[in-house]
Point group: C2
Chain length 350, copies 2
Amino acid sequence: MSRPLPLPVEPAAASTWPAPFLLYLGNAHDDLAGKTARGLAFWRPELCVGQFRDRDCKTTLGITDLDFAQARAAGANTMVVGVANAGGRMDERTIEHVVAALDAGMNVASGLHQRLDSQPRIVEAARRNGRSLFDARNPPPTPVGNGLPRAGRRLLTVGTDCSTGKMYTTLALEKEMRARGMAADFRATGQTGIFIAGHGIPIDAVVADFISGGIEWLSPARDDDGWDLIEGQGSLFHPSYAGVSIGLLHGAQPDALVLCHEPGRAHMRGLPHYAVPSLQATLEANLAAAHLTNAEARFVGIALNTARMSEQDAERACRSAEDQLGLPAQDPVRHGVSRIVDHVIACFPN
Amino acid sequence: MSRPLPLPVEPAAASTWPAPFLLYLGNAHDDLAGKTARGLAFWRPELCVGQFRDRDCKTTLGITDLDFAQARAAGANTMVVGVANAGGRMDERTIEHVVAALDAGMNVASGLHQRLDSQPRIVEAARRNGRSLFDARNPPPTPVGNGLPRAGRRLLTVGTDCSTGKMYTTLALEKEMRARGMAADFRATGQTGIFIAGHGIPIDAVVADFISGGIEWLSPARDDDGWDLIEGQGSLFHPSYAGVSIGLLHGAQPDALVLCHEPGRAHMRGLPHYAVPSLQATLEANLAAAHLTNAEARFVGIALNTARMSEQDAERACRSAEDQLGLPAQDPVRHGVSRIVDHVIACFPN
């Protein structure tokens, strides 16, 4: 295993992609393709002046359509390429649009795999206009994890699978805690979360030896009695990504864990031959791993994604999970997370 | 989590660093610094024509000292920079020597963090002489893991900690199995192993999302009744590196596991505040994780590193481990691994 050599990349300073934003949807073919833009528009509407949609775009964020000059005139400082094409690649049309946005005077930030600075025409346009490029999937240099106990309280969302609502749940917890006057900060680990938070680490893009260290860097010691609310990724039961999930768990040293799950999912995401684990098995595996770096780690709630269920079935699913694990279970979208936050406060009195 | 985009790096073809080798020790200040060169000299002596030591070198491999011209004249095709400096960096002196080796007509391969091709003088010398550069820590592009069952038998070494003898044990198993006429191939996951095997993947250097996929790539399906013997890394109980270890375990889908341990170690490597887990706890955690991708995974033996113990204490440690877990326990250096291989054959009859 390697020693704490910093990665040979430049840190991305938050100041290189200042709000407010124009959200670029391009020719997004469905709602899922515009996931990053949608997350930003939902959680940070005050930072979004409008959206840019190309002629074949099949989705909308329900905000003002603007071209590049209009967006700049409306105050947009950065265009966020918040659209996932197949393979995360930039097609010719996207490159043209990025160049046009730079020429209109905006910076450009992207969550694509393919880096903006891998395109000579984009680099040249940024230079010509004195604008910045920001790739959210470009991890900052971080040390190797050391597992040393650190001050502060941390909550981590974990899941039975990928895409069970971990980011949404974490942001809902931040909102609810802040509404109650608690100090609480969302800590982003994926590109959408990074755009929403304004900083973070794309933890699935760091070099394998640096996963836990990246999370230690993301959520350093704090002494204000506040909470770091860390966005989880993947699942200990996902054969493709469990390495990311366990490194994240070890680095987070969470005091509190929230279990995210979509009832009724047929199989693990992308893997029809893998069944979704039970809530109980997921809880046990995460506790066992979490106790390596925080012997006091405990679950404080269950967040169910019941979007595809009737109101009645959703209620039933929550009651069933609650009875089974003895923890408050809510759908953050339908019900909010107030009962989970109540339980956090009960478990961790000041 | 990201989708199967190949990494933006070139695959390192095995043919770019042909044997035989000159082993470069430079000014290695102790035996540990020359670990990679030592591994190569021990396991592949027939491929090593000699060593190059600078005036302040404090270690030797016990093979012929040669300068660059002598090495080339003796048939060396590649100089292997098998020395770990602090931080894995190349100092000025090393750069000069690499250039001199290229000028003498050898290719150069390195296991350092800092890439050979990051040094303009080295790149220029390689071009000038029509020679190749190979960085063992530069992972090949691989897909994301899919967890699909694949044909063939695989054995993985796992450990209570880093540096417990996993590579040595895996190579000893290859040697013993081949001596019995079994088809068995060492699969390397670290830079020393890669130099020994001639190919492999530096699994701690891949992007986090690709850990299990990298191991699936390393040990594809085979139908000759032979074994892939996969070199493990780290430990599920190491807070810095468990992500690598679990991804490796999931990707390997091992039928057989060998537990590597150094009795008497005071604490986890580099982490004085972390105790070494028990053999039983390590066995259970690895089995639980392994069963996700291979429900039949089982332990077949224990390899103890008793280098710092007396003969009597070593014997006692092996008997104790054996009684505790009901598996053959041997020190591969003192005792070989014949009883472990006997047990593999008993557990997996043809």
